[in-house]
Amino acid sequence: MESRISKVFYRSILILLPIICFLICIGVGRYGLGHKDALRVLADIVLHGKASVAKREYSIIINTRLSRISLALICGGGLAVAGVALQSVFSNPLVSPDTLGVASGASFGAALALLFKANLFAVQISALLFGIIACAITYTVSRVKGGQNTIMLILSGIIVGSLFQAFVSMVKYVADTDEILPNITYWLMGSLYTSNWKSIIMGAPPIIICSFILFMVRWKTNVLSLSEDEAKSLGMNIRYMRLALILCSSVITSSVVSMCGQIGWIGLLMPHMCRLIFGSDNLKVIPASISFGAVFLLICDTFSRSMTVTEVPVSILTALVGAPIFLMLLRNTGGNI
């Protein structure tokens, strides 16, 4: 099949890419610390402890840059692989957490929990629950016996997404007091701006665990993308497999939403790009998507926080870059990957 060398090469690229980007981006920011200095500070902190560097430098490297870089890598990789998983479940390359309404459902769940002044953990659970519900509704509505499901799926996803956005507005209307309101409005924006270690410690583990699970079953997910009869006849327990994939991608999406709001295009664009480069086998697409997704969000967010004096919400950048690229890809391939 493939030579040993190209396998090793491809694997190294996927691992090296995020690492290189990390090393570059840790040296980018509004404050002067460039790569050499930034890495020196990081090394000092790791080797000699917090007290060995200036307070200011510690604050910038650890609290601002490192936390955002980590968040971007984790969320970018997570969203991308969640996209691949959903595309396998629905046998459709045009679905993603955004287009299936999962992200909107998660936003609503989070808003609802905030309305009842729930703690961080409950917010995440609520986001997860409604993310799954939204996905389930889209799935059920789109079931058409035989025939092309693409149109139905996308339409259902748009409808369900809009529905949950409307619900969020309802929550805003009811939440007529103080702190609750600005927090809820915030969920609609996609931004890594409020990243902090406390929320990362809560929100990152589910993303990492579920991404890992998806990574482990990556070859098997290929079977799921065949027709139901074919998948069954290849010995797959479709129900469990679908459930597992939907659950994993919903957990990832809702964790991302609870930390960063809705960030679009990564779950749709990254798998698409990876398929163009590596082919459709999820054996390669899943690891590649994780890597590319992480890097894409990291680069976008680095621009977000350092391009101008003030922040540019990262969802603007992902849309500005993602939409034209996706349009171009669609046009060139005519919808077929």
Binding site: G29, R30, Y31, G32, A54, K55, R56, E57, Y58, S59, I60, N63, T64, R65, S67, L94, Q148, T150, I151, I154, I158, Q165, S169, K172, Y173, V174, A175, D176, D178, E179, L181, P182, N183, T185, Y186, M189, G190, T194, S195, N196, W197, K198, S199, Q262, G264, L268, V309, T310, E311, P313, S315, I316, A319, A323, F326, L327, L330, R331, G334, G335
Partner: protein
Amino acid sequence: MKRYIKFLAGISLLSLLTGCTSNNTATTGKTSGNVSNESVPDTVSKESVLNQATDGKQKSGKRVIIDQYGYEVELPEKIERIAIHRLLPLPSVYAVYKGGNVDGLVSMPPDSLIAAQNSILSKYAPDILNVSTDYYKGGELNMEELLKLKPDVVFYAGGDKERQQFENAGIPAVGFSTTADTSTIGVMEKWIEQMEDVLGEESKVNGIAEYAAETEKEILSRISDIPEKDRVKVLMIGHYSDTNFTLGGFGEYWTDATGSINVGKGAEGNINMEQVYAWNPDKIFVSTLSDFFPEDFYNNTTVEGADWSGVSAVINKEVYKFPLGMHRWWPPSTDAPLALWWIAKNTYPDKFKDISIEDKTKEYYKKFYDMELSDEDIDAILHPVKGVGRHYY
């Protein structure tokens, strides 16, 4: 055909998603300090304004004026019920304009009420506490609630969206621009002028503008000899909460008038901590629109994840909280000249050793509001309580 359908699906996806993101970004910190691009009418003298009001086109009993956004507004003959939208300080300015009451004000923003409830304004014009804020339930303009109050006119700040909304609802809408002047005091003056124009009544309180001009002159003369290298770097924070860290538009006037270097000049949008460190201000002034106090900066209890401990102003304990008098002293309010003294004294204490803010405040309130302030009153003004920040964005 199949290809075409898939292409269409892609387009609709695209417009949906970019539509979503652009809608959502519109909610990013719409502050009262946003720079607007609308044209601003030239300053006119008070008399000619009043003359214009009576000589204006008569359209079956209605007058037409041009508002501060440059739009023509048809006013009803009798204006007895006024609503105010988005202009947080305007209700207090209106109370001063009326000389101690808010007759005719039927609706105002909730954030104005919060300020009024916790400030001296509740003593100056107690009826302000009864003004309805229901129209802004849920953080969004509820037109039906507003119409229930039968306003004759609405004073608003905003863009085409708001203007259209009021037009569709049939409420004459007069735009009050927050950038009608480069000076925060000038903005307040222009607001009073426009109210006189619209309501056909002269302001009950006069002379604030002249007082302000004198104050500005004196302050500048005191600091004019400070060399460039000794000028203080100041960070003026307009809005700071869990989800919002924007400097707002009025800070530039405050620093220009008091001779300090505004590190955040021109910055519109959210600021991240790294940028603060890049600026490294000597002093920080926090407006009362934010709920954070100097202790929060010193103890790092502001926003989760924000570490202020390395900033010069925090290390040297030079963080100051704006006072709350008739209204918050940060945006255009009738207490604005006092704010000048307060900022100047905190910025260059050596140059203003002889000035007592407490005394200035007492004098001012007697002169313009005919109020005798007790020591507790003054203390309450200069040290606002917690929880009076802006909550609706």
